[in-house]
């Protein structure tokens, strides 16, 4: 069945959803960035929208609000993640649910910071909320948990920030210091100009907060403030040297367990499942009856994250 998508957010993820929706048999009927929108009930032409954005700095002539007036089935919320009240993303979701539309989130804010509010709105609506893309990009983590059943999964741990992992694994492999590798990562586009979210562990923590919310199945609500978070700025090359001398390495590991959420640099054996290199991500699910499951892959990137968004859309058919 073809669904009509309204996409909010014209960054790497929103842009890729626009490009790839046709491949999944869906149409993007509305597309907005922070200042403009393009609406076409017959489906937008991706290259025309991208050209307009490049040429004029806008995606269309309408204002962003027009998206909500379009005739759509699924709102794809891919605006930048914000903390605290998770606005404006949360209001976007609220509005779509009030109109009994489905919502697919790539934005982590509403699910990490206001999970109970979000679930309450969903309960009042005919629409449902999906957010696979908010946790680990293309890796099917939430759908795996859903298949297993959250009560059968006792913990999730792993590496869910490619930038921090790239930096730590490069520092370990090349014997370079943090500042040097960060600059290299910025040149390669692996780290942003302001890398705070990634290197201070906030991005990873938001993902593990979302996992904790999913695993607790409504019993306990978690937000970023509940997480114990430490980033990688305080991991010098000397620590990686000492770890390597003993067959270990350091990775920024997140944990969502019955004890809560924790993200910190941890010592793990070299060559163990969690010691992924570069921008690779991995999540290890601890199950009650079936041991550990490891799922790894690309945890970020436009087409990768759009793949998770469109998988969520397909689940709504």
């Amino acid at each position: 069945m073809s669904l009509r998508l309204a996409v909010l957010g014209a960054g790497a993820v929103g842009g890729s959803v626009l490009d790839l929706a046709g491949d999944y048999g869906h149409d993007v009927v509305a597309f907005a960035d922070s200042s403009s929108s393009a609406v076409d009930p017959a489906g937008l032409d991706p290259s025309a929208v991208h050209d307009r954005k490049e040429r004029d700095g806008v995606v269309g002539d309408a204002d962003p609000e027009s998206v909500f007036d379009a005739d759509y089935d699924v709102l794809v919320e891919a605006t930048p993640t914000t903390l605290g009240d998770a606005e404006p993303g949360f209001s976007h979701v609220e509005r779509a649910l009030a109109d009994d539309r489905h919502v697919v989130l790539a934005n982590k804010g509403p699910v990490a910071e206001r999970y109970a509010d979000l679930r309450a709105l969903e309960a009042e609506s005919e629409g449902t909320v999906q957010f696979e893309a908010a946790v680990g990009g293309a890796i099917p983590i939430l759908s795996t948990i859903s298949d297993l059943g959250a009560p059968h999964v006792t913990a999730a741990r792993g590496v869910l920030n490619g930038t921090a992992n790239f930096i730590l694994s490069r520092m370990a492999a090349e014997g370079l210091d943090y500042e040097h590798v960060l600059a290299e990562a910025q040149d390669l586009g692996v780290a942003e100009a302001d890398p705070t979210f990634d290197v201070d562990g906030i991005d990873a923590a938001l993902k593990f907060v979302i996992l904790a919310n999913v695993l607790s199945d409504g019993e306990t609500e978690y937000a970023l403030d509940d997480a114990e978070v430490e980033g990688i700025r305080n991991v010098p090359g000397t620590a990686l040297d000492l770890a390597a001398e003993d067959g270990r390495t350091v990775r920024l590991i997140g944990e969502a367990t019955a004890d809560g959420v924790r993200v910190a640099p941890r010592l793990i054996p070299q060559g163990s499942a969690l010691s992924v290199t570069g921008t690779q991500n991995i999540v290890q699910l601890e199950t009650k009856h079936a041991g550990q499951l490891n799922i790894s892959g690309r945890g970020a990137g436009g087409p990768e994250t759009a793949t998770a968004v469109l998988s969520d859309v397909s689940r709504l058919e």
Partner: protein
């Protein structure tokens, strides 16, 4: 600091394992004078102890201004008390002695500019407040960079006390402005 528990002897009597040698750890402190270490080791071999290793924390001082030394030795349980008595008779200050059963091992890395200057106190406090004993220690500093120094500690921990030990390390690090890289215990296969 002055707590002197001597549980090795009573352990030996309790388990009565006859002639089978068992490993023991003795923590001493020595004045920083020539010949002190050798003088301290003589009572061990004289009384049937077999030296396994000596960890001489040169450069570190106990609060009394002495050098801490950790001696691992093997001896039949019934000889252990005699060895400790002989050490004390020879005027050696035995801080701790025992056939302790450290069933688990945990490794942590401490990071910070002051990690090496203040290490003796850090190690002493870990050993005195946690059920742990230092097995080995490695330091790393990179000359000519502004990177922080690091110290890798391998601790032998009494079975089931890993969490408590890590909590002690964490608190101590927080107090001293150091960062701790803790091991991930589970799921790291």
């Amino acid at each position: 600091m002055s707590a002197q528990d001597l549980d090795g002897g009573s352990d030996a009597e309790a388990d009565g394992s006859g002639e089978m040698p068992k490993p023991h750890t003795i923590r001493l402190e020595l004045a920083d004078e020539p010949g002190q270490l050798l003088a301290a080791l003589a009572p061990i071999s004289d009384n049937g102890g077999n030296l396994l290793s000596i960890f001489h924390e040169r450069g570190n001082l106990t609060p009394r201004g002495h050098i801490p030394v950790e001696v691992d030795l093997e001896c039949p349980p019934d000889r252990f008390e005699r060895i400790v008595d002989a050490l004390r008779d020879a005027g050696v200050n035995v801080i701790r002695a025992g056939a302790e059963h450290f069933g688990e091992e945990v490794m942590v890395i401490l990071v910070g500019d002051t990690v090496d200057s203040d290490l003796s106190d850090t190690l002493h406090r870990i050993e005195s407040s946690a059920d742990a004993t230092l097995q080995d220690l490695s330091l790393s500093a990179r000359e000519g960079t502004d990177e922080a120094s690091s110290a890798r500690l391998r601790l032998a921990v009494r079975s089931g006390r890993v969490d408590e030990t890590l909590a002690v390390v964490r608190d101590l690090a927080a107090e001293k402005g150091l960062h701790v890289v803790e091991p991930l215990a589970e799921g790291s296969q």
